[in-house]
Amino acid sequence: MLTEKLMNVETGYFGEFGGRYVPEMLVPIMDALRDAFVRYYQDEEFLAELAHLNETYIGRPTPLYFCQNLTTRLGGARIYLKNEGLCHTGAHKINHCLGQALIAKRMGKKRVIAETGAGQHGLATAAVCAKLGMECVVYMGAKDYERQRPNVFWMERLGATVMEVKEGGQILRDAINAALRDQLTNPTDTHYLLGTVCGPHPYPVMNTYFQSVVGREVKAQIMKQAGKYPDYLVACVGGGSNAMGLFYEFLDDESVKMVGVEAGGEGIEEDSRKCRHAARMQSGYPGVSEGFKSLFLQNDDGQIKDTSSVSAGLDYSGVGPQMVYLRDIGRVRFTYAFDDEVLAAYDLVARSEGVFPALESAHACVEVIKMAPQLSRDEIIVFNCSGRGDKDLFIVAPRLAKDNFAAFLRKKVDELGR
């Protein structure tokens, strides 16, 4: 069964992808983490605490919402939105943050480190660390640090230390590298709280496990609301955690088709150093980096390329190994959405339903908007609205209301100058 294959806690391989390609120093650390995961995810007391905090802290279950207006407008399949944007801290990321932090605490770890790009994962990590009373250090590329200052501010308010990473391209990849180095320096007291279904074993299975609550809820909710399983599941794919979350519980139901949407950025072009997109499934090659084997956007020499996307959360050159496996066996179809399509979809969903999807999630919307009219009214699409879109103010406002927003910021700057 696919669900078993993708929860391969033994080796962490999914087909040829996955694994645990870490310096020897980290091998015992990863093994201990895997063992702890295996122990706790079958431990009643742990599961009870997780369930309790899922409910009372994160706010689960998150709603499954029928997009009536969008459905009518597109005139095809019935569209449902799984609103992970209503999770505490505004995105699905906290599902695996909470789970990992609970394990780390039981393992006696005192300190949690994390990487973050846009800041969503860092924010969720900082929140659960505040809640669980653990020290928290978040690595962030200096460029991201500058452009995501509000999230830096929030993380700091939560008591986290945010480290500006000045190496490399000063973006997410450099933050991951810095976090890995921190883990190498502090292998025993520190838990690296990795933010997606990437990284060395056991992260992909562990995060899949903690995210799978999403699909489990959808199963019950869609049965209640529509009396049948969805025909299609659609999710954006950065590392793959929100997609795995939505897909996992349905993997063994062959009638449920699945689509992953990557960042098409400004176009599927690239040179030997940089992509204008982050569509790993389109032009990535098998590789090993940051601790796991998967597809990476890389050149012929194996150098990882920089990527580009309007959504920071999808702007990453690697992708989760389970995702690649699911593509290879034909279980999940992959496509991509361009930045301008994403902004248009963001707007359409906001106006039609009164919901702002995160720019990441808006990639899924693009595909839903394309698919729905082709399908019949009996068919159901569920897409994962993995986060809420108000986090993207500083990206969206300058594009959609440039002058007003600039005037507002200028005024704020003047006030602060005083």
Binding site: G19, R20, Y21, V22, P23, E24, M25, V27, P28, I29, E167, G168, R173, I176, N177, L180, R181, L184, T185, N186, P187, T188, Y285, P286, G287, V288, S289, E290, G291, K293, F296, Q298, D300, D301, G302, Q303, I304, K305
Partner: protein, 249 residues
């Protein structure tokens, strides 16, 4: 206090600051009497390296240093020095090239051994990397750390060729460390399981440390210190700095 006993492996990043300079640096090292030279093929995501070496990786890539350039550098150096030359890089460089093809080319270029920190010996079923090394006569230098458990030390001891690279403490390259009692105990523990020579590395930055390290290890690894020495002053001064530092031993 020249000490002929002390074996040193010194490190450079191919293409930092240029391929031509890398060659000169290697020759200076050989001239200073080191026993091994570790030539790092630059990689975009050098997770096991500290800031100094990571920056050198990036610089080399920004200048367009290719894997092919590194093979050619190896070939040229092998013609002029006789000590063992090693390639150090990350697994993706080998994997993308094809592990077998990579090993073949490395061997053909005269490479003596490989250091690839992110491929644990037991990672891939019937580890193709170790097999390829064996096939092409390369020494796969395995790395261990103070927290490597006994069963893994034993396994490494059975598989290792050439020598075993012991990380001297928690952490990444470029942080200062003394040779402490802990390090002494650590190497003693390792020797219970591993009979190959032991190289001690990661963070050695003074000549005193080299001498101290040499008391417990067979080979002393000098990494980011070399780049720091090179970076102090002009090109010629840099080369001289490296020479002077290494000649203590």
């Amino acid at each position: 206090m020249k000490n002929q006993q002390i074996k040193i492996m010194s490190h450079l990043v191919a293409g930092y600051p240029s391929l031509a300079e890398s060659e000169k640096i290697a020759l200076a090292m050989a001239g200073a009497g080191v026993s091994y030279i570790e030539i790092q093929i630059p990689f975009s995501d050098p997770v096991a390296d500290g800031p100094t070496i990571a920056a050198a990786n990036r610089h080399a890539l920004d200048r367009g240093t290719s894997v092919n350039d590194c093979f050619e550098l190896m070939t040229r150096l092998k013609e002029r020095v006789s000590i063992p030359l090693l390639f150090m890089s990350y697994y993706n460089i080998l994997f993308r090239h094809g592990v077998d093809a990579f090993c073949a080319r490395a061997a053909a270029a005269g490479c003596w051994g490989l250091i690839v920190p992110d491929i644990p010996f037991d990672e891939e079923p019937g580890n193709g990397y170790l097999a390829a090394c064996a096939k092409w006569g390369l020494n796969p230098i395995l790395v261990i750390s103070p927290i490597t458990p006994p069963d893994r030390l034993r396994a490494i001891g059975e598989m290792a060729k050439g020598f075993v690279y012991c990380v001297s403490g928690f952490g990444i390259t470029g942080q200062e460390r003394n040779v402490s009692d802990e390090t002494r105990d650590y190497l003693a523990r390792v020797r219970q399981h591993i009979s190959q020579p032991l190289a001690l590395g990661f963070g050695i930055s003074s000549q005193d440390q080299i001498v101290a390290a040499a008391e417990v290890a067979d080979i002393v690894v000098i990494g980011s210190k070399i780049i720091n020495l090179y970076n102090q002053g002009s090109e010629t001064e840099g080369l001289k700095n490296i020479s002077d530092f290494l000649q203590i031993s």
